[in-house]
Symmetry: C2
Subunit: 346 residues, 2 copies
Amino acid sequence: MKPTRATLADVARLAGVSLGSASRALSVPDQVKPQTLANVQRAVEQLGYVRNGAAQALASRKTHTVAAIYPTLNNPIYADSIQALQQTLWGYGYQLLIASHEYKPARELEVLRAILERGVDGLVLVGTDHPPEVFELTRQYDLPYVLTWSVDETQYPHCVGFSNFEAAYALARRIVGFGHRRVAMCGGSTFGNERVRARQAGTRAALREAGLDLRPEWIVEAPFTFEGGRQALRELWDGEARPSVVICGTDLQAIGLLDECRAKRIRVPEDLSVTGFDDIEQARLTQPPLTTVRVPSLEIGTRAARHLMALIDGKDGDDEIVLDAPVVERGTLAKPADLRRSAREQ
Amino acid sequence: MKPTRATLADVARLAGVSLGSASRALSVPDQVKPQTLANVQRAVEQLGYVRNGAAQALASRKTHTVAAIYPTLNNPIYADSIQALQQTLWGYGYQLLIASHEYKPARELEVLRAILERGVDGLVLVGTDHPPEVFELTRQYDLPYVLTWSVDETQYPHCVGFSNFEAAYALARRIVGFGHRRVAMCGGSTFGNERVRARQAGTRAALREAGLDLRPEWIVEAPFTFEGGRQALRELWDGEARPSVVICGTDLQAIGLLDECRAKRIRVPEDLSVTGFDDIEQARLTQPPLTTVRVPSLEIGTRAARHLMALIDGKDGDDEIVLDAPVVERGTLAKPADLRRSAREQ
DNA sequence: CTGAAAGCGCTAACAC
DNA sequence: GTGTTAGCGCTTTCAG
């Protein structure tokens, strides 16, 4: 029965060295004589000693913990990224504190405050658009941070992500290339979310080149969930005119929308084309498989971790990591019905 | 420009009170005169003061952080639970440190050590089967913990979960009730995983009642992923004899298996019945929708959080929370082909 | 209800 | 290389 945990002082005493040496043996082992190192290690072993993180943090002002604030954990794309982040961080001896704000900027700020109070050495945020107070706090606390997922609408050098504008642009070009002219978008709120804005902008740009525009009634705002997709389809389908394609903001929405199509006996892609965004694993399991944009979520996690580690080490590292987010064509995007017909007629 | 963060001493000075009073004003506001409280609050405001968590932790031996170690984050069921856990904890002023061990017991131990070093006030673990060192450490550190997901194979009172045995038993009864006699299981490794064992046992119990048994070659061990399910089907289908139903350990596997069925033109449930476990959202999106067992993952998260808070507060609380995990029948489980035929013949 | 003072366990100069 | 010695910023007795 151990009444109280062993401290470094106990270790030092048992090893017959000073407190300082014991401390060094643990944190900078190559700055002590092999002999003392061995003694200390033996003592540690014997006592089952484990460092007290709080004390270490207080004295060294390093917590060996970083925090990541995600919009939600309910999207596999973020889960994947967290997984990668966590694994990589682990390799550096860092722990991960995670939180989510459910797409509410105010909530994000609260969460950040709580995290700051607990103390972390670095921060990972998703997206570039955050309440100004967020940036003030990171500055005030001198907290290194990396922005992930997006490189849109920002000057900040430490971003690990892709251009949502370009990705959406490329996808829309593809869509236009198939001959679609009645294009709808099912996205989330643009509030505090530059990804949604950038994608809208990218889509618009491609449409404009083809002489098209996005009709306001065909831009529907729905939650980034299966249910959101279902809702969106209902809204779109009950409208005056019907689009020939709907561009979804996430695969989750697209999958839900596809399911609603099935319920309503709308054939995809014959009656309606659908595209997603993220390329989650399920995207290839729909019937037909979903045409989408592949977001390198694992790589974002891994590189964000590495980049943050570099920042924390004071190595200002390379700037902005722009990853690729290619369109992956599968079965839900095809020529619109009217064109098929005319093609056949020729 | 703030060269250095304000400390409680600064606050006290500005407020014209002692360090002690300032401290109390923050942590036990009703033990100070309203006047001093107000002074302190004003000072805090003015200085933009934020507590230093490390110092607080060191002095009070409370970190206001709890850790949760999950098998993986790559299963929506865990993501959901984490979400609920995190939200609930947040309401109590606690942060969540998360980690995963990818179904490797040794890894879990390492992770726990790192977490212990960092310091947490409580711990959430998934399952009841962990390396003995895990339990030794929690004891040695006097760390309150709750075991989730399962109440099988354990004496430990602080569990929040369901009986995997019962759930599997109920499902198997249902399967047997449909007339299946050639039953296969696609599960994960039983190593360090009592859930898998309990489910096998429950399944066996139900089969035995019907005079059946599980043929060893029909127990396939595959990763808990889409791909795992695909693999399992291939293995099972290429074998000497073919089962009439396969019971999957997770919906992820079941969905992958279903997809492989489609690829191989195996009709479900005509040629083969399939069941899942978890009832993730996608389970109702397969074609036909998946018959599965509904695991109350959100509730597990919420109640685990509450229970842990009680433990931390020294309220030993109520014991073992046994939740319900009902079978949800959808379309992938039906009578086996031979019975259908004979039914028709009659 | 408040102030003073003693640590919490560790790191980081600083001399030796 | 190693020992000594200040703190890190806060909580918590203990008197008053």
